[in-house]
Symmetry: C2
Subunit: 134 residues, 2 copies
DNA sequence: CTAAACCCTGTATCTGATACAGGGTAAAGC
DNA sequence: GCTTTACCCTGTATCAGATACAGGGTTTAG
């Protein structure tokens, strides 16, 4: 019996957010016990984990739904449709990875510059470069 | 003269959002013309670009502010402080990159499976794996 | 010198997410 | 069994982040 509370604990998701995802259709409505308690399946657990990851990576609910829809591809979509949709997502994700790597690179520079010294950080000249485009 | 509208156009940011970022302190208040128009600097432009990138990568306003603060390190922070803060951010970013790469890998599998065929996508068995953890 | 295009402020609205209130259910401790 | 505590239910309020709109001034193109 996987109740809403247990699902929340296992995924780290806020318990109210689970209900919210159900109302907006992101997480399918689970089975109910005789007394009306929600009873989730392992499928729900996996799906919610994915949703949380996607949201934390900056995908909107709608985009997340789009990614999930790839797994459910209704009969009216051809493989070619799914393929082009998928590749659009791949491009988007590649861009996110690039951006994150840029930021990471800058932060690494900051970190190594600040090595050891106890002097004020305000004298660190590399910090300014965080804004740059490459 | 870099007005709010021009800044919006150049960054792709919604014009109202710019004002919002000013009210929450994420984007510093710019200079004003005699008639009260905002006049932004290149610094604002760079900063807003960074903010947008950070937000699209799933960092909250607060986290984004934290990243920006690294560039402004007030005198009361030692280099050691900045260093540890920076490394925490690096870890977080590394995790985001890993997650994105997982999703990308799955999508690549989907894409290559769906190659060419005009059959219904619903028969694609790989899609299911999108939820898995590795 | 007028009209369109743009800026200002304040406030309302929307989405995504959480919190809370009022009431029923389950289960641990007597 | 019975009570107490922890949990679930629904509906609604709140909050953050962002966006839209209304009413009015400014700039600029014709």
């Amino acid at each position: 019996m996987l109740t809403r509370g247990k699902l929340a604990t296992q995924t780290g998701c806020n318990i109210e957010t689970i209900r919210y995802y159900e109302t907006i259709g992101l997480l399918p409505a689970p089975a109910r016990t005789a007394s009306g308690y929600r009873d989730y399946s392992d499928e729900h657990l996996r799906r919610l984990n994915f949703i949380q990851r996607a949201r934390s990576l900056g995908f909107s609910s709608e985009q997340t739904q789009g990614l999930l829809d790839l797994t459910e591809a209704e009969g009216n979509k051809t493989r070619a449709d799914v393929k082009s949709l998928t590749e659009a997502h791949i491009d988007e994700i590649s861009q996110k990875i690039k951006d994150l790597q840029k930021i990471k690179k800058r932060l690494r520079q900051i970190s190594s510059f600040c090595d050891g010294s106890e002097k004020s950080a305000s004298t660190c000249p590399i910090l300014e470069s965080l804004f740059d485009d490459n």
